[in-house]
Symmetry: C2
Subunit: 187 residues, 2 copies
DNA sequence: ATGATTTTTTGACATAGGTCAAAAATTATC
DNA sequence: GATAATTTTTGACCTATGTCAAAAAATCAT
């Protein structure tokens, strides 16, 4: 729990009452390696703050899994549109390794938004960070080679990179597994 | 002003006091075609709600302009990171055609955030929409051909497409002007 | 309108990365 | 620890898109 508090406090000051509400509402959940956490046919009801492990969001394209993003320690994983708008979306979520999380139900989040304006601020500010990453990712897709994207990924996600199967990294980078394999063979 | 109110009300209910604060703080600004509105060496102090016209955010890569995004009627234009964090960033902003805007200073925005929690909510929700667009753009960069991206752009931005020079569209799509020219010649 | 800029198109050629298929290596299971 | 399943690598070949250069067309300014 401490880590989650720290995460919040990098954006807002956590009041006692808010802390205690969070405490009441967050549930511990652990997932086994390979476990499917969200199916694309379902609406995403929970957001998972990862304490240990790696979760992956992916979708199916021509029957194949395409990895959209990975989340590691101290990050929230959910199916963004599905969670925020309570509709279905294309994303599946699974566990790349055994993963322990704190889970926040969407109804609890709504309660917090309605009663703690600082939660709205937290959400706005933390979305801002993700926003920046998305813009960088767009830029990298537009202007950098497969090799550069790979090297960049390895550097940025140094902690989780060695734990993610190659094929998943390739689809994340928008290249084929074969190409990624050749890039790695190079040097 | 009415259009801006409508825009807000698609996300939140606008109270009388908030309306009047907005009224006091928004300034009309008009830009001539081709006018540079923000230089990358400056911190972005204003966000512009476009009433008429098109603004463009771009950056320089190897001395060439690369268009990052375009904003048309009823959209906010600013240099996101620069505006929200009051740092410099890579983006320039210019006017593709004569454009009239309502301008909101960052200090006024901060005031509104601090005094009207619903402004935080508005910001969170409207960022959510942009978020969705960014994710789609990433997907399109990863998995669709130059031609598909072009056709999609033409469809989504049907209103502004014919008013934007080809070279700017090409760099937005992450392709060369020559390739775009050939795609258009095809059919 | 007329010449000067700017934008768009066309041509010839190069190459990064894709596809399909099979072998090799790694990992999981009994 | 042996066999099966999965993941990664390698090979042969192909194609979409990039690069560089120049012509054509469109737009702008006097």
């Amino acid at each position: 729990m401490e880590r989650l508090y720290q995460h919040f406090e990098s954006y807002i000051r956590l009041s006692k009452p808010l802390k205690s509400e969070l405490n009441n509402r967050l549930k511990s959940k652990t997932f086994a390696k390979g476990e499917l956490i969200l199916d694309a046919s379902q609406v995403c009801k929970e957001s998972y703050f990862i304490q240990q492990g790696i979760l992956r969001a992916y979708f199916l394209k021509d029957g194949k899994e395409v990895s959209e993003f990975f989340c590691g320690t101290n990050e929230w994983m959910n199916s963004p549109k599905s969670y925020m708008q309570q509709t279905t979306d294309i994303y599946y979520i699974d566990a790349i390794e055994e993963t322990s999380t704190l889970s926040l139900n969407v109804n609890d989040l709504v309660f917090l938004f309605d009663n703690f304006p600082e939660m709205e601020r937290y959400a706005r500010l933390s979305m801002g960070s993700v926003f920046g990453h998305l813009m960088e990712r767009i830029a990298s897709m537009r202007f950098t080679s497969a090799k550069e994207r790979y090297l960049n990924f390895k550097q940025i996600y140094a902690d989780i990179y060695p734990r993610i199967p190659l094929g998943m990294v390739a689809s994340y980078l928008g290249i084929t597994q074969e190409t990624l394999s050749r890039i790695r063979a190079e040097k």
